[in-house]
Symmetry: C2
Subunit: 331 residues, 2 copies
């Protein structure tokens, strides 16, 4: 089996946490992993193979120009490893824009895909995450692209979460088909018409609102990359604000520390479901290979989860299913 290429230099905690996560994933999951980066800086790789890459694209670098000029960067080399059949998938916690650009330029698009999109799992306490896409790859979209996002999101929900007939919804500002922006109204018509469903097994359930994202209302929520990114970051900000304020209340006196100690065991499952370390990362759908985008702040735990998801997507044949889903219907 081909190894999963891990960008050892990408992320706020690279290379330490990334390498540690890769070693753990190889040991605990039995998944072959190859590290990509500056061999000298990786420390003990626990016997993992290394693909040498001399350059590092910074977290805040301009994606397009970096990828164009830094041909020996760890990100570009990761994508090339997938393209050249040396790796089955790539995983990076680095610069998101540069990860997308590397994957798109080196792997290319799946035939028929207009634009790749980022599919991000939104936590649903006690339930299966909601897949939100596009979470930021395309700031401006056409209705046709959104329909393709629906196809790709449904395939991802099935492969990732085993949902045979994913409920697909369109993000809007009211349930009525007449509400929303011109783009949303046009997309609603196309999605309701249904000829896009094909092999995806999806069911279009209409419009949903932002408040439905953390519920089991829909399995897949489709939107343009601007709105999706705003929604995702708003949600992340809200969770972060509440968790940090709760923790500071818990830690305010001897008494509250004792009481919260009693609550912790019961709170941990909820906390675990909301922790971005546990989502397994987002996936760039539509490129001709598996590309998992992990949080910039990823720890070794997040990397283990991201590598597990990459492996699941490879063994689940997600790229083949995507290819079939977006194939234009004949006649």
């Amino acid at each position: 089996m081909l190894p999963i290429a891990v960008d050892a230099m990408g992320g706020d905690n690279a290379p330490g946490e990334i390498v540690a996560g890769a070693i753990r994933a190889a040991e605990e999951l039995g998944v072959p992993v190859v590290l990509v980066g500056r061999r000298d800086e990786l420390g003990d790789t626990g016997g993992l193979e290394v693909i040498e890459a001399s350059q590092v694209i910074a977290m805040d670098a301009d994606p397009a120009s970096s990828v164009r000029t830094m041909k020996d960067s760890s990100l570009v080399r990761c994508a090339e490893a997938v393209r050249d059949g040396r790796a089955s998938a790539m995983v990076s916690a680095g610069n998101t824009g540069a990860t997308m650009a590397s994957a798109l330029l080196r792997m290319g698009r799946i035939k028929g895909v207009s634009r790749p999109a980022i599919a991000t799992p939104i936590p649903v306490p006690g339930g299966t995450p909601t897949v939100l896409l596009d979470a930021g790859a395309n700031a401006e979209c056409s209705a046709d692209w959104l329909v393709q996002f629906a196809q790709m999101g449904a395939v991802f929900a099935r492969t990732r979460y085993g949902i045979e007939n994913p409920k697909v919804a369109l993000l809007s500002i009211g349930e009525e088909p007449t509400k929303g922006s011109p783009l949303v109204k046009e997309t609603h018509k196309l999605l309701a018409e249904g000829s896009w469903i094909g092999s995806t097994g999806a069911r279009f359930i209409g419009n949903v609102e932002g408040r439905d994202l953390m519920t089991d209302e829909a399995d897949v929520v489709v939107t343009d990359g601007f709105t999706g990114n705003v929604a995702l970051k708003t949600l992340e900000g809200a969770l972060k604000s509440i968790v940090s304020n709760l923790l500071s209340v818990f830690d305010s006196t001897e008494e509250t520390r004792a009481a919260s100690g009693v609550l912790w065991p019961a709170l941990l499952p909820l906390y675990g479901q909301l922790d971005p370390e546990n989502t397994g990362g987002a996936m760039l759908l539509g490129v001709d290979g598996v590309c998992i985008i992990s949080h910039g702040s990823s720890s070794s735990v997040a990397m283990v989860n991201a590598i597990r998801v990459a492996n699941d997507m490879v063994t689940g044949g997600v790229v083949e299913h995507l290819r079939e889903a977006v194939r234009p219907t004949e006649g």
Copy 2:
């Protein structure tokens, strides 16, 4: 002093909670209130004056056609009371779209205002709320309108929260001026140029992201009504999900109930800051009068707070300040 017109028939808990809140506001705040609705259904009004209105616009009715055809509805009569100088402001927990349409059609726009916008306070634990606008009045916007939202939002932040020099930001998907949709990029240029600031005292601090809404990064965040509504509802959904999951953990065993009992006094201030009952409602900025839009699920407490805000806006002269802020500069 003119009374505040309260739509006694609007909201999920109308008229009971609405009337109870109006009575409490009159007693506790010393603010004169007039109830608008079906006198027979209001029960004991505690001596408050009533403006009779025989019709009720349902929560899910089509806004435009309802307002056009139901001329004796409580919402339309509220807006007329303000227009005719019988009331200083209107407050409703009813159909949001119909509230906007009533205010716009009966009060008219402030001269120079292109489009009214809904300004909604976003809770910031331990700090002053962030004013988000437009939170849903205009699903499609031009850059010029967004600049006017910046002017109006700054005036609102000053009048509502006493912020002399409000930090105004543009909602986008990255801090760089080059990121975002075409609308955002164009608006960024206009806001950065600065000639809109005039009497508002605002400072443009650039783009912010969804994750900044619940922080003190900006005092006012400007966006189109589609994105704003998605962000607002995403945030509301996240808060609701976490609070309800926390409460169910707290209530799961004898032990957790005892422990959470110890934590409650320390948690209450946080809970209070996040509770939509306490925000005082949103304000429709740009119509020629004060119009406060309270949550559909408003209790009497929410109504007291909304009436307090309406009164503060009247005494603070917000309409006059808005008029000055949007006046085209001469020469």
